[in-house]
Symmetry: C2
Subunit: 378 residues, 2 copies
């Protein structure tokens, strides 16, 4: 097959290095520990790191065995989707034995899932034997931005082109794109599982690209296979902001899918920059959505306080069904969120608040999606 030439290369390496052991990595052990293995007879130092070590965790050193395979086993891990990388003599690599990776900006990390029961987090992030929704990468026209743009659309398994479904707009953060929630956020797995268990109502999930100067994720538009970095996502030169162009997305979705075309059928939520977008969208289009979710949101209140006061008064006078703010205790945006909550409290505007452990990480955003999806359209 196509990999013949690589197999041939592998056999050259075998001749040079002697009998090459077959390496399986990672191995999820029955006791909830996880073993990493790496073949590197000539390496001086090999370690593994990732979110299984905690936010500020230190690398787990691996030990070289006689057959040239380095190995390390974790403590018992809580059910979760984890990401990790190997460090071989100071250079970061993906695990050659694990083809499951996620991209975050320009970095690939391997992933694995620990699940021990049918109601733990690992289960909700896994592909289970349940009806599956359709995941589509759809191009739409944005008149406001003057661009053809790409979005990801999840249609629930029950979608048949006849029955109408409500829509959750799910927005990514700085450095992300229309693939982030599907890949890093496990959105289609979470929605499939929540819907199958009756914990969320069947809904359409729309994951647009929130960078007004990009048409699509890196590699999926005509800028080619560039190396994405933070600067690639700035808004300089954009014809409009994400918030100003947002109704292009809603109009396209209402025109092309069987949606509930009213406020009670629309929710918007996002993480970090996307939480900021949600905050802005809630003020710009106060009677368009009934459910808002600010996740670890970049929700700085604007300087023009008079205009802001008017927007917020109009928004809450319209009685949205949910204004949800979620953030982790260690999130670097906590201060900003605390200030917004203080403002809402002073004005007696009703909102729900959810605080958990951890910081500005995907582990939390998957939790927030799982919670938010169960609160809406009911």
């Amino acid at each position: 097959m196509a990999i013949c030439c690589f197999l041939a290369m592998g056999s050259v390496a075998q001749q040079q290095l002697g009998q090459r052991p077959r390496v399986k990595s990672p191995v999820i052990n029955g006791d909830g520990t996880v073993t990493f293995n790496f073949y590197g007879p000539q390496a001086k130092r090999v370690s593994v790191n990732g979110d299984f070590r905690g936010t500020r965790g230190r690398r787990l050193e691996m030990t070289k065995q006689e057959n040239g395979v380095w190995t390390a086993t974790t403590d018992t891990l809580a059910p979760e989707l984890y990401s990790y990388s190997f460090f071989v003599d100071g250079q970061r690599f993906t695990d050659p034995a694990n083809s499951y990776v996620n991209r975050d900006i320009s970095t690939l990390s391997n992933i694995f899932i620990v699940s021990r029961s049918a109601d733990d987090r690992g289960h909700f992030y896994s592909v289970n034997d349940v009806p599956h929704g359709t995941l589509s990468y759809v191009w739409y026209d944005s008149p406001t931005l003057g661009q053809q743009r790409r979005m990801t659309v999840y249609l629930p398994a029950a979608y048949d082109g006849k029955k109408r479904f409500p829509v959750m707009y799910l927005l990514h953060g700085h450095g992300g794109d229309e693939t982030s929630w599907g890949d890093l956020g496990r959105a289609s797995q979470i929605m499939d599982n929540l819907i199958a268990e009756g914990k969320a109502v069947p809904m359409i999930v729309v994951m647009p690209n929130g960078n007004p100067t990009c048409n699509a994720a890196p590699g999926w538009w005509h800028e080619g296979m560039y190396t994405p970095d933070g600067n690639a996502f700035n808004q300089r030169g954009a014809k409009a902001t994400m918030e100003e162009s947002f109704m292009d997305i809603v109009n396209f979705v209402d025109d092309n899918y069987c949606t509930v075309r009213k406020r009670s059928g629309r929710a918007v939520t996002g993480l970090s920059m996307g939480g900021g977008h949600t905050f802005g969208i809630s003020r710009l289009y106060p009677e368009t959505f009934d459910y808002y979710g600010l996740q670890s949101a970049a929700c700085r209140m604007p300087r023009d306080r008079e205009k802001f006061d008017g927007q917020m008064a109009r928004l809450f006078a319209s009685n949205p069904k949910l204004y949800w703010i979620a953030i982790g205790k260690d999130d670097f945006l906590m201060q900003m969120n605390t200030e917004l909550r203080k403002y809402l409290d002073e004005k007696h505007y009703p909102y729900e608040y959810y605080e958990n452990d951890g910081g500005h990480i995907w582990r939390n955003w998957r939790i927030y999606l799982t919670l938010f999806a169960q609160k809406i359209f009911k």
Copy 2:
């Protein structure tokens, strides 16, 4: 952001290793050469290999510079999509500076594209500023296999749910799945570009999973994140073969998309095992498709020659518009294809034959798709 912890790890490595240079790799140079770079101050030997070295190419040794960055530059490369890997002290790795990868069975390889003009192969495999079709991962019910199964569907940019479009069924090889043609085969880029330039008519492309014992690609069904290998794709225990269950796919597509529901609107083509499936499908359903494309096909004629003769007589009596056989000079299935052509010649059955350089590789299948798509529905 979510990669903060990895950036933090990176800075630890910097302190240990001194000033760490920023590495860009690969660099497509103006003269058509390509430079690979890799930071590995402690490595003893670093090389790069991939299909840019030819099918039986030897690794290109990289040279260590004073700053710890290993580098190598290729000769001028022909316009093409290439894949490669690094070999660091005998271990195969992906390039840490390149987040663009393709998976082939269980192996990730980095990719890059060389293009010098708007009519070369690299151009056809690139995302250009043209109208883009929709790429969807769709679940369907297969009554014959008793499974919920996943397929990839490309809808042309002009698809609006009203106008009817013809359908090309595009089948993968052994070890592949419903993602292979979209990822390794660049099917959506090729179709977008051919249609935009008027070289192919707008059409729907359906890329099903041809492994009757798998519901979907690795990681996308309830078997979890297993390490795929050749054995995972055997047909033992399957309720039916791919060919026997194939009309489940056609019926689902006709029921759920705006298709031309007759023979003149249906083509089927596949590579290797998928070429064998095409060969079988052409005999089982002789008046269902008007266009057949056998690419590097595993097209062994069955032992029951009397039954086979009858099937082939019926097939060619029905006057299909195209029976296309394509294979590379060095393909290990050449003998099988030569025997089939000899049979067709003896029977005076009309077919078209295309032979080019190279073997059983994706480079050829992308070429065959580009050629076949221009021959059908005209």
